[in-house]
Amino acid sequence: MNVVVLTKWVPEPEGTPTLGDDGLLVREGADGALDPGDEYGLEAALQLVEAAGDGEITLLTMGPEVAHAALQRGLAMGAHKGVRITDDSLRGADSLVTARVLAAAIGRQEFDLVVGGVESTDGYTGTVSAAIAELLGLPSLTFARKLEVADGSLKAERQTAAGYDVVTAPIPALVTVTAGATEPRYPSLKGVMAAKSKPVEMLSVSDLGLSSEDTTATQKVAEVSDAPPKQGGETIDADDTTPARIADLLAEAKVI
């Protein structure tokens, strides 16, 4: 069972992100980490490969130098090798460019499964995986939890607005894994040490056989403005009168 896990370096999820003059998120020099959403996919992949008894996990990421830290984290958790695509022409890449680049990199190797998170914690686009599946001609099971592979098929529970569906697809396939599907393992000290000697391949856009047309973004930030701040809010310390205050507000809103 060989699995490619899509990973992304994101600015520190608990921090306050900043925007540059071009309206793009500032990544250089920012604190960041492997997207927490990706750890669920990696954990699911580790469990599938462990259950299969053989196979390799390749981490794939696109991003500048800082993104190396995301790969290191994933390698420390147990992935076998990493691939990082980096190219100046990819700054400001939109979802289509990202999908083309990642699909081209995935297509260079043998794989049974491609695993990703459902969406990144910084961009929240949530469509890159579907586009990758289409570019590679793969069936996809998105928003999956409780994955299992048996008899050459992947089976999963897929979240829906009302609950979940049970879905299946033959492998090779692409799957996106939700938070809560698994509890990601914490890297051991041994894992952290071992990660340093695991191979990480660096690729450029031309290594992937893509043209500059393939990597031209189709979106441009025209304007960024501050949302109007909320007016008239009040914060109080709870005391005996608090329940009545809240009930008054509910009565004012005519809901009680």
């Binding site: 579907a130 586009a131 998105t142 979240q159 009302a162 609950g163 569906d165 697809a169 914060t235 809240i246």
Partner: protein, 320 residues
Amino acid sequence: MKVWVWADVTPDGPAPSALELLTKARDLGDEVAAVALGPGAKASTDALGEHGAQTVYASDDEVFTKHLAQPAVHALAGLVEEHQPDLILFPASYDARDVAGRLQARTGSTLMANATDVLSPDKARTEILGGTKIVDVELKGPAPKLVLIRPQSFAAEPSGGTAEVVEVKADAPDDLKKAERLERHEEEASGPRLEDAKVVVAGGRGLGGPDAFEQLEKLAAAIGNAAVGASRAAVDAGWVPYSFQIGQTGKTVKPEVYICAGISGALQHMVGMKGAKRIVAITKDPDAPILKIADLGVVGDLFKVVPALTEEIEKRRAGS
């Protein structure tokens, strides 16, 4: 200008999102159409027409619900090639996200997600950083431009039209029927739907465990026409099902009153609830970001405030 709407449909009719998006589409284009695929499509065409669709490309074929995304993308891509729309609006539902992402790979079109408004056929608006910044984005590249729109971004208003119904062929090759839906399970809570409730009572990490959600259920029951929701932290911890989740990944709610307890106000959560008319936040953390957007912020012990509030409301109900 041809503007299309991807309409989610079920045998019960069109999803509210389809009617919201059609209402917006009328402002953007003079030729408005909806694409509705799967059981319930034909039965939805009256409502879609009333909300502005002049044409509905429809099929009731079960292949569109039995198999995930790919047969629908095959049909939609065929329609796009034939009719050349300029812009397609998609709801931010699970299935529509997959359809839009796959269609983009086929057409090489731009795709903007999480839009809160469409300003023109080549400019859309989104809010980032928990709604503190408004970003207008120019959409370039080949048509059709694809925009995924957050729920309840527009109010649905009928225009009183009728739609011509055009049958869509369900002729996807077997190769596109590999991903299959075997079973459906519903785990929706009792009471009103989160999206429809006048009052939403939501809990987060500060509840400390699943048992505390009973306190919120009791409060919701006392208020009446109230639904219980949760932040992603509470859902990820497994305290309540995913269907409770409010936020970027999850549901968008715009109730008359939003009461939250033990929620600090992660950006991811605030996007899903900041449209509430009134926000009451109960938290022990005086620095919680949620207090900045609350009409009434209460710093204190939710395990005291919530039951006391339930009692107060029950007392008022009994007195009236």
